[in-house]
């Protein structure tokens, strides 16, 4: 296929203070598919996402989104191009209600009534807890519910690409199941996702493509199906085999 | 020159211009009674000396430990009032002076200890605001306890034997100067300030001083390395307060008067801030150069402005801007510009002129 990837990173280097975190990341995120970014703790996965969003600006290299260079742009501008970001910490505004969190995420809505009813209905269908605690301060939700809210915020309006950082972290297995269902539903709608995950089972179920990071570089890239089928390769890259989390 | 290096605790000027300026200052101030006999010039010289100590003690806190406090003048005042009250109540003797100073130092130590332990755990901004409030409250307290402190009018007292103006040890003039208690008092101040300054140099160049700087740079890391940052900060706060207290005692001795406006006013706190920034934070020498520049400006810039005001007399707003009473405006501008463009102040600038290829000054705090 000659079509350019939706998101292209070439030679991205990022420093945080004196620390050199990313040493030339090369990554392609194709449109309409789920790309999973795997790797050990400290490999640089979160920093990669943050560099894309301009929160940790890259010191060198190029980042292109829909063939437009976004390297050096402000975070708000990058978000406005259609990229949604669900950080590891979820970024929930604890003092605001669930409703207010959603309203904030919907840039075009001035009031709650302006929220897209169909999308909201879908969100409530996937995450019933959000409807139940709609007027409740978001800070009082459980970890899993917060994660649902964080993802709901990313999809209340159409976005071209969604970056999600370790959504299954710290969640109970039942919640992880709900999470997989929700993300699978998104995938069915051909939403482009760049998913950072340590839970390999979840990654292999959802991912179409995979990139493995180690020490600030991509050390493997290919189809998820290939990696999932190759236990030896898995052990080599990730030190585990299918069915086990870290 | 080994003895000089040892004396300065290995903290050399590191710039020929700076060294020259320091030497000049050292000599001129030492010989001030001979060079400038007049009352005003002597007052200017004494004020410069006292400010040097006051600002140097503040530099320990701000420049080396990275703590912003607005309560510094409170300790300045405690020292001054201590000496004044003791002289009035216990008689004008050296013993009374020592007693007064001793009590003042004790009070300063306790107050700064309390302030440090209670509030140095909080964020810098919190601490700054709290010190502002405490200093303001103290100023009010002093005005209120008028029986004790003389209230708004302050206290006037006499100096002990040896430095009272009427004392004349030599019958005839020495090098053209009739030496009197005033001159002796001046040299006493000179000696004390010099000694205190050298002690401060020792402190900031000691292992303790290095830890302070580490805390200033990155307190998380310092804490992670095992240094109890609250303890170090508190000690720095206490030391700084005690040196300020001594400076206050010297001021009282010189003026033979103490009042809320000579020591506790917020204007003085701002002056100290201006000097430490313009002179160069985290250098100690900055307090010397800065005090000279500032006090000279305060006294003689006004004359300059007067001259300019006459020239611009016709232009309405401009003449108001160069009105000699508005000299603080120009100092304020210089201050803001210094914070932006010369964060290491005059001293930093002088040091950079010398060796453009040299590494940047390790002790100056990188404000960025």
């Amino acid at each position: 296929m000659v079509t350019q990837a939706l998101l292209r990173l070439r030679g991205v280097q990022t420093h945080i203070g004196a620390y050199h975190i990313l040493h030339g990341v090369e990554l392609d995120v194709p449109e309409g598919e789920v790309t999973v970014l795997l790797g050990r703790n400290g490999a640089g996965k979160t920093t990669t996402l943050r560099s894309i969003m301009g929160l940790c600006p890259a010191s060198a290299g190029s980042i292109h989104f829909k063939q437009q260079s976004i390297h050096g742009m402000g975070t708000a501008e990058i978000a406005r191009l259609g990229i949604a970001y669900v950080p590891e910490s979820m970024g929930i505004f604890g003092d605001l209600t669930v409703q207010e969190n959603m309203l904030l995420a919907a840039r075009s809505a001035a009031h709650v009534r302006d929220l897209d009813a169909a999308r909201l209905a879908w969100i409530f269908g996937q995450f019933p807890a959000l409807r139940k605690f709609w007027l409740f301060p978001a800070g009082k939700l459980s970890g899993g519910q917060k994660q649902m809210l964080a993802i709901a915020r990313a999809i209340i309006e159409p976005r071209t690409l969604i970056l999600i950082d370790e959504p299954s972290k710290g969640l109970a297995p039942s919640m992880v199941r709900s999470l997989i269902e929700a993300l699978a539903a998104l995938k069915a709608q051909r939403t482009s996702l760049l998913l950072v995950e340590q839970n390999f089972r979840m990654a292999s179920v959802l991912g179409d493509h995979v990139a493995v990071m180690d020490e600030g570089r991509i050390v493997f890239r290919g189809a998820m199906a290939d990696l999932a089928a190759d236990a030896i390769l898995q052990r080599q890259l990730l030190g585990l085999s299918l069915g086990g989390a870290r | 020159m080994k003895w000089l290096q040892r004396l300065l605790s290995q903290d050399l000027p590191r710039s020929p211009l700076l060294a020259l300026a320091l030497l000049l200052t050292f000599l001129v101030l030492a010989l001030a009674p001979f060079l400038f006999g007049g009352a005003k010039s002597m007052s200017v010289a004494a004020k410069i000396l006292i400010f040097m100590l006051l600002v140097a003690s503040y530099d320990l806190l701000l420049g080396y430990t990275g703590i912003v406090s607005f309560a510094h003048t409170m300790f300045f005042g405690i020292g001054a009032y201590g000496v004044a009250i003791a002289s009035l109540r216990l008689g004008e003797s050296w013993g009374a002076l020592a007693g007064g100073l001793g009590l003042a130092l004790l009070l300063s130590m306790l107050l700064s200890l309390a302030m440090g332990l209670l509030s140095l755990r909080v964020r810098a901004i919190f601490f700054a605001m709290i010190t502002l409030a405490v200093a303001s409250a103290f100023q009010t307290l002093v005005s209120q306890l008028s029986d004790f402190t003389g209230g708004e009018d302050g206290l006037t007292f006499r100096n002990p034997f040896g430095i009272s103006p009427s004392y004349q040890p030599f019958e005839s003039a020495v090098f053209g100067l009739l030496i009197d208690g005033r001159a002796l008092g001046y040299w006493l101040i000179y000696g004390v300030v010099l000694l205190m300054f050298l002690v401060l140099l020792r402190i900031v160049n000691s292992p303790f001083g290095r830890v302070l700087q580490a805390i200033r740079e990155n307190d998380f890391r310092a804490e992670a390395l095992g240094y109890r940052t609250v303890a170090y900060r508190t000690v720095s706060n206490v030391l700084s307060a005690m040196f300020a207290c001594v400076a206050g005692a010297l001021l009282a001795l010189w003026l033979r008067y103490v009042g809320p406006d000579t020591t506790l006013s917020f204007e003085i706190m701002l002056d100290v801030l201006l000097i430490v920034v313009i002179g160069g934070m985290g250098t100690l020498y900055g307090s010397i150069i800065g005090s000279v520049v500032f006090v000279l400006a305060q006294n003689y810039l006004q004359d300059l402005l007067r001259f300019a005001a006459k020239a611009f007399n016709a232009v309405p707003l401009l003449s108001d801007l160069v009105n000699p009473d508005r000299w603080l405006l120009w100092m304020g501008l210089l201050f803001v510009l210094s914070v932006y463009y010369f964060p290491s102040g005059i001293v930093g600038r002088l040091r950079r002129i010398r060796m453009p290829a040299a590494k940047s000054d390790a002790t100056a705090p990188p404000l960025s």
Binding site: E77 | T140, R326, L329, V339
Partner: protein
């Protein structure tokens, strides 16, 4: 399948009733308690009424001034030690407007309103300049911020002295607002009611904006997590300038109100009130508008009650209050979470 989706790890069991939003009313109760406690302490009802009105007025004026400062700090972690300069500016602009109005023989009340408006506009304009030139270059650098905003205040005060002169300028109230009403033996000054109404108007305006509008939502979210708001696509630096300018305008308004309250204006007004507003925002909790409101009222009331009961301690009542509140709630009355 539906069964499985019921969150098993939720905080509240799924069969409980929908939990209510619990509003922390303790500080408000404290305020009410203070006012009621003062009745027996003061003795006479008429004195109590006068003092309470005075306290509320003073508190509301302080709130108007401090509200901008606390929001600016909460939103961008910028503490403007020069906030006092807008207070002084507002007060002095009012003197100019009033003398102009007097010469042109305008109606007293109308000239007062004009003075307030013009003062706010001037303060807003200078606030915009202040943010651009002094504050913006030092975002995130607390040490430099404290120093530079102090420097800004020095420069501002000197400029004010250059324009209006260093002396005190009287600011007499217009006829319409002089005098007092009688309520059960107590004299309530007309101006105080007026100033309190303005203060309440400002509070309700702020409360409405913060809780009912999207702008307010942005501010509240920004106070909690600035970078997430940006990640959601909002240019928070523009928001900050707007809040800074609004805060300066409010300080200017507060300056006018304060100037008329004292019936005179000096250039030191800013520095004097500075300490007071810092105490108030620390008590209230940095970044909390409601905290600022309650804190300001507490400070105003205690200053007046203590001034009547025990003048000697009145001057330390602020510090004492601050220490007491911090011992109880170290982050202020209404701490802003996630900081």
């Amino acid at each position: 399948m539906q069964e499985e989706l019921k969150p098993r790890d939720s905080v509240i069991a799924s069969d409980e009733a929908m939990p209510q939003l619990r509003f922390d009313a303790v500080p408000l109760m404290l305020l009410l308690g203070l006012v009621l406690l003062a009745i027996p302490a003061i003795g006479s009802t008429s004195s109590w009424i006068t003092l309470t009105v005075a306290g509320i007025t003073m508190g509301l004026i302080i709130f108007v001034i401090a509200s901008g400062l606390t929001l600016v700090f909460g939103l961008m972690d910028v503490l403007n030690f020069g906030h006092g300069v807008f207070i002084a500016l507002g007060a002095f602009v009012a003197t100019t407007v009033m003398s102009f109005a007097q010469a042109a023989a305008w109606d007293g009340f109308f000239s007062l309103l004009t003075a307030m408006l013009v003062a706010m506009l001037c303060a807003a304009a200078i606030g915009w300049l202040f943010e651009r030139l002094i504050v913006r270059p030092v975002y995130g650098l607390h040490l430099k911020q404290i120093l530079i905003t102090m420097g800004g205040m020095i420069i501002g005060e000197e400029l004010i002295k250059a324009i209006w002169g260093p002396l005190q300028i009287p600011l007499p109230l217009p006829e319409a607002l002089r005098g007092s009403w009688l309520l059960a033996d107590a004299a309530i000054e007309r101006y105080r009611i007026f100033a309190s109404l303005i203060g309440l108007l400002v509070f309700s305006g702020l409360a409405f904006t913060l809780s009912r509008t999207k702008l307010g939502l942005l501010i509240r979210a920004g106070v909690q997590d600035r970078s997430m708001v940006q990640a959601l696509g909002y240019r928070i630096d523009r928001l900050f300038v707007a809040v800074f300018v609004a805060g300066s305008a409010l300080a200017g308004l507060g300056g006018v109100l304060w100037g008329f309250y004292q019936q005179s204006v000096t250039a030191q007004i800013g520095a004097q009130v500075n300490v007071l507003i810092f105490i108030v925002i620390i008590i209230g909790g940095l970044g909390s508008t409601l905290g600022c409101f309650v804190g300001a009222l507490l400070v105003g009331l205690i200053a007046n009650y203590a001034g009547f009961l025990e003048p000697k301690i009145a001057l330390f009542s602020n510090i004492g209050l601050m220490v007491a509140v911090l011992l109880w709630r170290p982050q202020g009355l209404y701490p802003v979470s996630d900081r």
